[in-house]
């Protein structure tokens, strides 16, 4: 019996067996296209199609949305998403493309949307047929999210939206967006409201999506401009002026601290491409030379790799300890560290890899001699996306200092 199974309830145990059986026959084979490093970097239709097909299959089999009620397209189970995730990760399935939908939009719509809206939107969200994106950041509102200026004006029973969102991953494929905007200019926090809005159907008709190019040269995120987009009031989540509270639900789930477990498959270790792990770093070091010997023989490199191995294992063990109540100091203390630590560990791992590769780290994706196909320098650059997006590391440290340690708010 696997260690994860040790504490299963009868329902979980049965479901786990079901997942294992299904995955044995239905885990997709090699992808026909090179996959991106994460779902947020899906660039091409063939990539999307392959991943969408997998998500749909997993949803149809009941492995996605298991803990949501049947009425909204869920599986009606209790604490089973975790089980499905464990088994999908064990089976090394591909990741699912609708990450923002599953991880942020679904719980937000579920906890704050009207019943009819939930029933209409969530099934196609779970199945991956509708891709979702997130409209929070703006050119003038990054870390200070509450300063968003995108504005919705009431005209009859419609809202007319104008504004400019940035860093919207997946917007070029998205049907829907979760949108934090302003309905009242006189109050910073209480002037915010929260909508779901159609993107794809409104393209050229109030919505423009423009790709932004990343430091790596990849596309993958976008800016989205709203020019008098009209939406129905039924697309509003929760009350007018409660947008900030609704956004907190989104952000809590983004940080892994929400009530709903996000459906997850694949993950780093099963990514078809190169992952930023110490295991891959050690492989790189075995092949790299330093002073005429493998870099793995260099005591400094060994020491620095071990520093990262320890941080990586510590992060993993944090997740394990977070589920042992007697070993907690504060309910959110460990979970709120996840994003900060995982992004900084990835950054430092990629940074060390670049040093280990040495002169060869100059070589990029288009070079045949590049170690690991040039993906280490790309991973290093992409790591700044992780330490900046979704709350910079600086903001994460504020959150931890204020919510967990109880230090005075820095603003």
């Amino acid at each position: 019996m696997s260690e994860s199974a040790r504490k299963d309830s009868p329902e979980q145990a049965e479901f786990r067996q079901y997942c294992q059986d299904w995955l044995k026959d239905n885990t997709p084979g090699e992808p026909p296209v090179r996959l991106p490093q994460s779902p947020l970097e899906i660039m091409t239709e063939p990539q999307l199609a392959y991943l969408q097909a997998w998500q749909k299959a997993a949803y149809d089999a009941g492995l996605v949305g298991c803990d949501y009620p049947v009425e909204v397209g869920g599986g009606g189970r209790e604490d089973c998403q975790r089980v499905a995730n464990e088994e999908m990760i064990r089976a090394r399935t591909p990741f699912m493309p609708n990450v923002i939908g599953l991880g942020m939009a679904a719980p937000t719509v579920f906890y704050h949307g009207q019943e009819e809206l939930k029933q209409r939107l969530l099934p196609r969200l779970f199945s991956g047929e509708d891709i979702w994106c997130q409209g929070f950041s703006e050119p003038g509102a990054g870390s200070d999210l509450a300063s968003v200026q995108t504005f919705a004006e009431k005209k009859g029973d419609k809202w007319v939206i104008n504004g400019h969102k940035v860093w919207t991953s997946l917007a070029h494929f998205a049907e829907w967006m979760i949108l934090l905007l302003r309905t009242d200019k006189s109050h910073k926090y209480d002037g915010l409201s929260y909508f779901v809005v159609p993107i794809r159907s409104a393209l050229g008709n109030g919505v423009t999506v423009r790709p932004l190019i990343k430091i790596t040269g990849e596309t993958g995120f976008n800016e989205v401009l709203f020019d008098n987009l009209e939406v129905d009031d039924s697309y509003r989540l929760d009350e007018l002026g409660k947008g900030w509270q609704v956004a907190m639900t989104t952000l809590a789930h983004e940080r892994g601290a929400g009530e709903k477990v996000t459906p997850r498959s694949g993950g780093l270790k099963s990514a078809a491409t190169h992952a930023t792990t110490t295991g891959n770093l050690i492989e790189l070091a075995r092949g790299a030379q330093r002073n005429g010997k493998p870099a793995t023989d260099d005591p400094l490199i060994r020491d620095r790799i071990m520093q990262l191995v320890i941080r990586e294992e510590g992060l993993g063990q944090n997740q394990r300890r977070a589920r042992v109540p007697a070993l907690q100091d504060h309910p959110a203390r460990i979970m709120l560290q996840n994003k900060l630590l995982s992004s900084e560990i990835a950054q430092d791992t990629a940074s060390l890899a670049v040093e280990v590769a040495g002169a060869s780290a100059s070589l990029y994706l288009g070079d045949d001699n590049a170690p690991a196909g040039g993906q280490w320098p790309m991973a290093y650059m992409n790591s700044y996306g992780m330490t900046i997006a979704a709350g910079t590391s600086e903001v994460q440290r504020n959150i931890l200092g204020e919510r967990v340690l109880g230090l005075a708010k820095s603003k």
């Binding site: 019996m1 696997s2 260690e3 994860s4 040790r6 504490k7 050690i282 070091a285 010997k293 493998p294 793995t296 023989d297 005591p299 060994r302 020491d303 790799i305 071990m306 520093q307 191995v309 320890i310 941080r311 294992e313 510590g314 992060l315 063990q317 944090n318 394990r320 300890r321 589920r323 042992v324 109540p325 007697a326 070993l327 100091d329 203390r333 460990i334 560290q337 900060l340 630590l341 600086e394 440290r397 504020n398 931890l400 200092g401 204020e402 967990v404 340690l405 109880g406 230090l407 005075a408 708010k409 820095s410």
Partner: protein, 375 residues
Amino acid sequence: MAQPKNYGFGEEAAMLKESARKFFADNFSTEKLHSMVAQDPNPERMSECLWDQALWQEMVALGWTSLAVPEEAGGLGMPLAAVAGLVEELGRAAFPSPLLGTLNATYVLAACDAGEAALAAIAEGATATLAITNAAGSWDIRDTGVSAAGGKLSGTASFVQDARKSDYLLVSAASGDGLGLYWVAADAPGVTLHPDAIVDLTRDQAHVTFDNAAAEQVGADGAAALERALPAVWTLLAADICGAAEWQLQTTVEYVNARQQFDHSLGFFQAVKHPLVNVMCAIDESKSLTYNAACAYDTEPEEAARCAHMAKASAAETAAFASGRSVQCHGGIGFTWECFVHLYFKRQKHSQLLFGDAAWHRAKLADILIGPVAA
């Protein structure tokens, strides 16, 4: 054997940890600690051994010294995960005692071929400590300063922890047959304790000379026994560090919340806030790795060394970092003898380097994960 998800840290362990915390909170405030061990600030003071023996007797009565002794030797046979919980609380209280030494000796004895009698003595309340380090402070198992011949020990064991609080010494000694482990009373003929004058006010330390001292061999293959047991020693020291670091964090947080400068509490300033968050993250990493190491020791012995190297390497860094920030964030007052942070600062610097510093453990870990360096 797979590891239990919860580290095998069950209800009994949780109760033990909770009761230990309560015991120290009720009986041994930091103020009491300070007034006990910090009477003489003179930096050239001689070695002292100041501890609360009455409280220690209560701990013995609670069975804490026999927790790790196997049931067949008269102990409670609790898993290391549970013992680590107790030691975390011990570290948080920075309680001067022979508990850690006695637990260390227990794990080594349990890995020996002839440790039963000694274990029984511990189960009955005897205290002990390891004497396995040479004068150069080498942490490698085979580097002992003591030799054995015909059941008699000669030479010097250095850096013996809490020696003056211990009834017995568990000594590693080299002989023609390799490394053996020996059990000897601290006051036996031919055994002389030379107290060291140390920085840490919460421990005592000595080097011990053996002059043809008769001792009982408890482990014929001492290297094997130490190899098996040292991961437990490292894990418990890591647990002690985690507890002490948590005290440092909470005490510093309390101070920076109270202290006002520039119309704000110090905790308002990111130059204070963010380092303290980093301390917290470091502590959590070390704690998680510590319980992982304990669990591996209990359930997957072949993983015990790997996991314990991680735990002690992480904890050593945490000890140094938390200590530095605790003094810096306290500002001027933290630099004085009257502020309690110095007690933990000194204990942590001692723990950081004891039984291998971070770099030493990482080098050993690399040998496991990457393989040794080609000659």
